[in-house]
Symmetry: C2
Subunit: 257 residues, 2 copies
Amino acid sequence: MSVMTLHRPAHRDALALLESAFGDGRMVTVFGRCRVEYDGRASSSLGPGDRLVVCKPDGTILVHTDEQREPVNWQPPGCTHRASVREGRLRIRSERTSPEERLDVAFERIEQVSAYEVTDRSDLALTGSEEDLRQRILDDPSLVEVGFEPTAAERETAAGPVDLFGSDAEERPVVVELKRRRVGPSAASQLTRYVAAVDEEFPETGVRGILVAPSVTDRTAAMLDERGLEFVALEPVGDEDTADASGASPDDDAEPG
Amino acid sequence: MSVMTLHRPAHRDALALLESAFGDGRMVTVFGRCRVEYDGRASSSLGPGDRLVVCKPDGTILVHTDEQREPVNWQPPGCTHRASVREGRLRIRSERTSPEERLDVAFERIEQVSAYEVTDRSDLALTGSEEDLRQRILDDPSLVEVGFEPTAAERETAAGPVDLFGSDAEERPVVVELKRRRVGPSAASQLTRYVAAVDEEFPETGVRGILVAPSVTDRTAAMLDERGLEFVALEPVGDEDTADASGASPDDDAEPG
DNA sequence: TACTGTATTTCGCTA
DNA sequence: TAGCGAAGTACAGTA
């Protein structure tokens, strides 16, 4: 069966399902009143409350409350889950090494336990990333500046890899830093680091630094200005009127009403 | 009842439960074969597969596969969820404005739908954050350096707020940047920015910059050195042997075997 | 494994 | 609301 569910199970029955599912590679959800203790890179303690706990076959565990996108507690992939019953509580312990981390969830009441057989072969196709912005520029370098000729992407420097490297119409080296959204001071610092490193490679050549992003904050614009760096406004995807609520997208066959 | 669950429901029955739960402020999980389309800050398309979809009453929606801590698709809190049935598929649409974003999940098969009544009043108590590191230093400034006197936390400068600001034994201004874990180049850049800003405030005073963190990468150490910045090794919590598997913690009443 | 940077980052805080 | 920086960030790519 694809889903196995127990409602208000006795702890020992819940335990049996959990152990079976952990052994099987099935995904598990447990909903009930629990406490959570975490110790590792940091430490945390969470008092009693109703939460949804999700255990994935890859060793991920998530503890979700009724709010926020982020789990209140979690363990990343690669952990080992074990279930047990001690002192009238169903416990799930998730551990890993390097770093040494431990998560303990103790249920005093279980409303529901489910185990799911999951199959998912599809990959996510995402557009609008920084990678898309880079491709857009490589397809048409004049978007940055007429005469700009990119010679390398992710070019290594003493300060780390530069998004785009090339030369301008006057053969001066050009360092381009790409951001998919409006940027703050850290992007200006980053570009500064790269330009300084390239400047040591090619002294006296007047290395230019160009930040390409949809927009910059005022303080960042000032920083760029002070340091003789440039800004070009550009987005990962062309002006496609992405958020058009009036026109129906091709694959959107839903109708209101 | 605290949990309401339907197994392999007809779409219209699943729809009824979803609409009721969205109206109620109950949390919902749906497990089944679905496709997902997202459009907003970026765009994505996800082909058919079995996934666990979680809808929270605060407007969060998560689409989880059997792998990774991160949902393959999501929508943050504040969104509006609507369910419908079109062309033989149960659809969940989650929308928000500013930014305009839309997530569509279309189920071709539903294995299980559950609605949960969630109550959670407990707050997470976390230790080991950067804030703890700051408090540790304010309690004993000599951890940074004998003679260091902090005068302000989060002190505003032209480059942004500085973690700790104060003076050394020789009355020189000191800028301290705190990190709870091993740091890379961006932390050095950050400190550089702050020191430059404070240096403009107090010219000719020999403003010092100190990075306080557990450790730094080699490249970062070189950057600090070049710029005349200093490093002090310190962790958010004292050496408490946090990851001690042999000794039982006070609140750990679980026994192996 | 360690280092580096991106992210539909999310989140909290402050002006 | 926008700006700014932290996070138990997670995650991918590379050396």
